[in-house]
């Protein structure tokens, strides 16, 4: 149980107030098919950003355009994945407003399920829960120009041609940018004050989520790999710094597609130094990391999953039950004879 090695930065149960416990996951996200990350709508270019290529020597003077996988494009599919299983095991709660089942994007979160407690919600029944999962924009290692291609899409009639029976030409013709398969994004995910089971839930969501970005029923296949896990009292370097340092470590020449083995070696070399960063107390070794992932997979396995999700759901139970009466008589007092609160 290498999860116990993280015990100094794991919470024993959900607490409403932060206690400065950080767990950092270093994630390598690799596209396995055409993938589309854009914010501007169909036909627009991919999300990208001009940044320094690296942190050392010539690289720091070179500016390149990197693809960006924005925070929300990471978290949204991952939390939806977890919710699928909460739904399957009937662990989503109903919201008191209209009695409907907890659902994203309906302005009516149940405020009580694992997802609500962990990934947060806003604008529910007046309360808001901050997310304890802090994400960052992930950057591609190689410049956008190397890893983006164009596709022309046309929609044909059932005749198999671009003309219908009356001979009218189809207007369904479009060109769209896409990210090539085999593109690597390096990403740092920061977890605040999570419990061991919450950690298993989050890592499971990251490992098992396989589709990201637009048109994810057709394209957007991605594979996530966890390269490192840290425990600290502060945040570790950002995704951008990680990408830049890895770019430096890879050496030249760099061209698409990168050898993933070399890339992982370079990234691990970079994060090996993070153990010496200010405030970092734990780094899981290769073996411990493998054990942790096995532990996660065991808990998510068909035999264990029900127990695991119910145990995690149960852990918030004290926040769902009406607390036992505190030194007050029964009956609906209308604000009379209530104990005076002392603010210190």
């Amino acid at each position: 149980m290498s999860i116990s090695k993280l015990s100094s930065v794991l919470a024993t149960s959900y607490e409403n107030f932060p206690k400065g416990r950080f767990i950092t996951l270093v994630v390598l996200r690799t596209t396995h098919s055409e993938t589309i990350f854009r914010t501007e709508g169909s036909g627009e270019p991919m999300c990208s950003e001009f940044v320094q290529a690296g942190l050392e020597g010539e690289n720091q003077k070179t500016i390149i355009q990197r693809l960006v996988m924005t925070k929300r494009k990471q978290v949204a599919p991952e939390r939806r994945y977890g919710r699928e299983h909460l739904r399957a095991h009937e662990l989503l709660y109903t919201n008191p407003k209209d009695g409907s089942l907890c659902s994203l994007n309906t302005n009516a979160p149940c405020e009580m399920c694992v997802d609500c407690f962990l990934y947060g919600f806003a604008a529910g029944g007046g309360g808001a829960q901050k997310s304890r999962i802090w994400t960052e924009d992930a950057f591609s290692i190689l410049p956008a120009s190397d890893v983006v291609g164009d596709r022309t899409i046309n929609a044909i009639y059932e005749t198999g041609t671009m003309r219908d029976e009356k001979g009218n030409a189809s207007t369904a013709l479009n060109t769209s940018e896409y990210i090539k398969p085999g593109v690597h994004f390096l990403d740092v995910v920061t977890l605040k004050d999570v419990t061991a089971d919450e950690l298993r839930y989050i890592i499971g969501n990251i490992l098992f989520t396989s589709r990201y970005g637009a048109v994810s029923s057709r394209v957007g296949r991605m594979e996530n790999e966890i390269l490192g896990v840290f425990g600290s009292i502060t945040e570790l370097p950002s995704s951008l710094e990680l990408v830049q340092a890895t770019y430096d470590a890879l050496g030249k020449p760099l061209e698409h597609p990168l050898n993933i083995k070399q890339l992982i070696t370079a990234s691990k070399q970079v994060i090996a130094n993070w153990k010496n960063k200010r405030g970092v107390s734990v780094q899981l070794s290769e073996e411990e990391l493998a054990n942790l992932l096995t532990d996660v997979e065991t808990n998510w396995s068909p035999d264990e999953r029900d127990n695991f999700l119910k145990r995690l759901t149960q852990s918030y139970e004290s926040f769902r039950q009406v607390a036992p009466e505190k030194n007050k008589g029964k009956g609906k007092s209308k604000g009379k004879n209530t104990p005076v609160e002392v603010e210190i």
């Binding site: 409403n16 107030f17 405020e111 004050d193 926040f319 607390a323 104990p339």
Partner: protein, 252 residues
């Protein structure tokens, strides 16, 4: 009051480098700063007297102006600062939030007790959701940056170049414009241009007419016409015998 306790007085200009806030008046959820700076606040700000960082027990319920100010009253006095020109104000909105992971904005309260949420969902009002009697959101009217005030400092003290004022410890620059001797004028009818603290007026003064700015801890008087002895400082005239908590000291 035949003798003058102060040989000289400095005319001092205060220049607000930051918005300055005092809770002079409260209307609903708006907290107004009046266009004046009280002389007790200035005495603390100048470091002539000090208040503890932490108040505990009974001390939280009672200010100690008298205990603090009377010991230094025989050789130091400062007038409330009156604005130079028109005071300009700025409004700011503030809201309080918790550092908890879950919180709800209820009736003038940031509720953070997530364990009370189930009770609240049953339509009850747990005490952690009830309105609080201290502000969580509201608006502040503050004295805007770049406002100038002036005041007279009696007594021969080195003054700091910068002081911190008000609830938010706003930085204020202090310039000594001039130094004057204090001369005593005989009994008569005088008009004082300067702002005065009502609690510091001498016992024997006969106030004929004045305007009152009602702020805690003591009202400020302006445009005072009075009969009695007076001090002249340069062009300015103030009642003679001004003294911290002067209305109190008759029984000494």
């Amino acid at each position: 009051m035949s003798t003058i306790p102060f040989q000289q007085a400095k005319l001092v200009e205060l220049y607000c480098l930051e918005p300055v806030f005092f809770a002079s008046r409260e209307l609903s959820d708006t907290y107004y700063t009046e266009g004046v700076i009280g002389n007790y606040a200035l005495t603390y700000a100048l470091g002539r007297v000090n208040s503890p960082y932490r108040l505990q027990g009974q001390a939280t319920g009672r200010p100690t102006y008298k205990e603090d100010l009377q010991p230094i009253a025989h050789d130091f006095y400062i007038l409330p600062a009156s604005p130079v020109g028109r005071v300009t104000f700025r409004f700011e909105r503030f809201n309080a939030l918790s550092d908890s992971y879950w919180y709800a904005m209820t009736n003038n309260r940031v509720a953070t007790a997530r364990e009370d949420l189930p009770l609240q969902r049953q339509g009850k009002k747990p005490s952690s959701f009830r309105p609080s009697n201290f502000p969580q959101t509201g608006r502040l009217r503050m004295i805007e940056r770049r406002n100038k005030f002036q005041t007279l400092v009696f007594g021969n003290y080195q003054l700091p170049n910068y002081i911190r004022l008000g609830k938010f410890m706003s930085k204020v620059k202090l310039n000594v414009l001039n130094e004057f001797p204090v001369t005593l004028l005989p009994e008569g009818e005088y008009q004082s241009q300067h702002y005065l603290n009502a609690a510091d007026l001498p016992q024997q003064i006969e106030a004929l007419a004045f305007d009152l700015i009602s702020i805690p801890p003591a009202p400020i008087i302006k445009n005072l016409r009075f009969r009695g002895a007076a001090w002249q400082v340069g062009e300015m005239i103030v009642p003679a015998g001004l003294h911290f908590c002067g209305r109190e000291s008759s029984n000494e």
